[in-house]
Assembly symmetry: C2
């Protein structure tokens, strides 16, 4: 055995998940209003009850009640700030659950799935909890791999930065050894993972690396958030920067599914 026997705190208590506790969480995600709120929170930004109420299409009192339940169960966490209360997903584990649900929801039977109006922009670039997703994310991972900064293995299931890649990313402003806000239990969040992009059906980067990359791109102003949506816009400076720095191919908008028309 090699490094996999890292000093993980096993003693913590490996009790088994009870059906009751699972049902408790799932039931909270199982209400349309709450599901829409949580889906909005998957954008990664903390949102106020008012914004969440609009997302869910219910009144403020109803929203307040929902949020209280979600917070009590540890699904979301709140942070008071002046006159507002900002809610966010409580942990990466919860984001995992929502992600798995999204995959199952799309992979399922071919029911009627009305393509929403903003789909075009969402498919190009969006935030997924704390990292970048969409065609841009897929293309970016491709570019990183082509440059030898990241090595993919196992049919795209796994990714790992190369030594040269670490240097490159550090120069870009990423601290790969940072704390990485894992959820409790002392479990450190993995540095680099792939996450199946559920619109592109191809992997993109997640984990601490993916999160740091998105943060950096936002700070640089290369990407900007679209208010009230998970969609992200690639600025002109951003596109130029990504092409110059990451060698993003100029035709990245042309994926295997053809170019995406962004609704005007």
């Amino acid at each position: 055995m090699s490094g996999m026997n890292a000093p993980l705190p096993l003693d913590a208590a490996p009790a088994f998940a009870s059906g009751a506790r699972i049902a408790e969480i799932a039931a909270l995600l199982g209400d349309p209003a709450r599901a829409n709120m949580l889906l909005a929170l998957m954008g990664g930004q903390a949102l106020t009850p008012g914004e969440l109420a609009r997302h869910a299409g219910v009144s403020a009192p109803t929203t307040s009640g929902h949020l209280a339940k979600l917070a009590a169960a540890g699904v979301v966490a709140a942070r008071a700030q002046g006159r507002h209360r900002y809610y966010r997903l409580a942990s990466p584990e919860i984001a995992e659950v929502l992600h798995a649900l999204m995959v199952a929801a799309t992979a399922g039977p071919p029911r009627h799935r009305p393509p929403g109006p903003r789909d075009g922009a969402l498919r190009l670039a969006r935030s997924c909890y704390d990292h970048l997703a969409g065609r841009l994310a897929v293309a970016l991972l491709g570019a990183l791999e082509a440059q030898g900064h990241v090595r993919l293995s196992n049919e795209g299931e796994a990714a790992e930065p190369t030594p040269q890649g670490r240097e490159f990313l550090a120069a870009f402003g990423l601290d790969l050894d940072g704390p990485g806000q894992g959820s409790g239990q002392g479990s450190r969040r993995p540095l680099c993972r792939t996450c199946l992009d559920w619109s592109e059906r191809r992997p993109h980067l997640s984990g601490r690396l993916g999160a740091g990359l998105l943060e950096r791109l936002l700070v640089l102003g290369w990407l900007t958030r679209v208010p009230g949506s998970r969609a992200l816009t690639l600025t002109r400076a951003g596109e130029a920067g990504l092409i110059a720095t990451f060698h993003l191919p100029r035709d990245w908008r042309e994926g295997a599914g053809g170019p995406i028309r962004v609704a005007s």
Copy 2:
């Protein structure tokens, strides 16, 4: 870009998961009775309504109603066989959701988590949907790695069989190029993945390789199922075989958390 641009059928329809559909699935998992049924099905065996009724602690009519709903939504699938109807989880995607829920349920706040009676046996070896989990699974992966049959990377996030390992596993009776029963949409299930063992907090093998391995171990009689439980028993022949063939360390029962006491 490398092999990651495999011929995946993108045209299939990358519509976005709606809150409604997500809520529909989550609501189905959000009832204690149904959650317990699905947890039982996570054992990987197809079960009859009667068995599921006992697992859930509800009457037969109630169970029947639950199963009808789950089947209609594509969460479970049924197969009639004589006087019995065998139910199983409908897809790996659903198993993924349940797994994420189990992780979230254990990782959450330290609520009271009564350790069940069969915990000891479960922690040693159990089935997880279609592959092996528990301390034995973790030790087995460690042995495979030590023998150079599998290469782990990225903090245990990823695993991949080496050429030598493929040969070894083929000799053991595994067909690594088999179809692999992925769920619809032509998406082929990954060959080899790791899955965080949520009792050991360490990775073990899943994917087609993990599934094939468990199947083979059961066929050989090295592992046997404990009726009415997800627990698996390592037979004397099995332990000897694993030590001889896989070089499983003799003291595999002694994990980082100390030996496990199996309730008598």
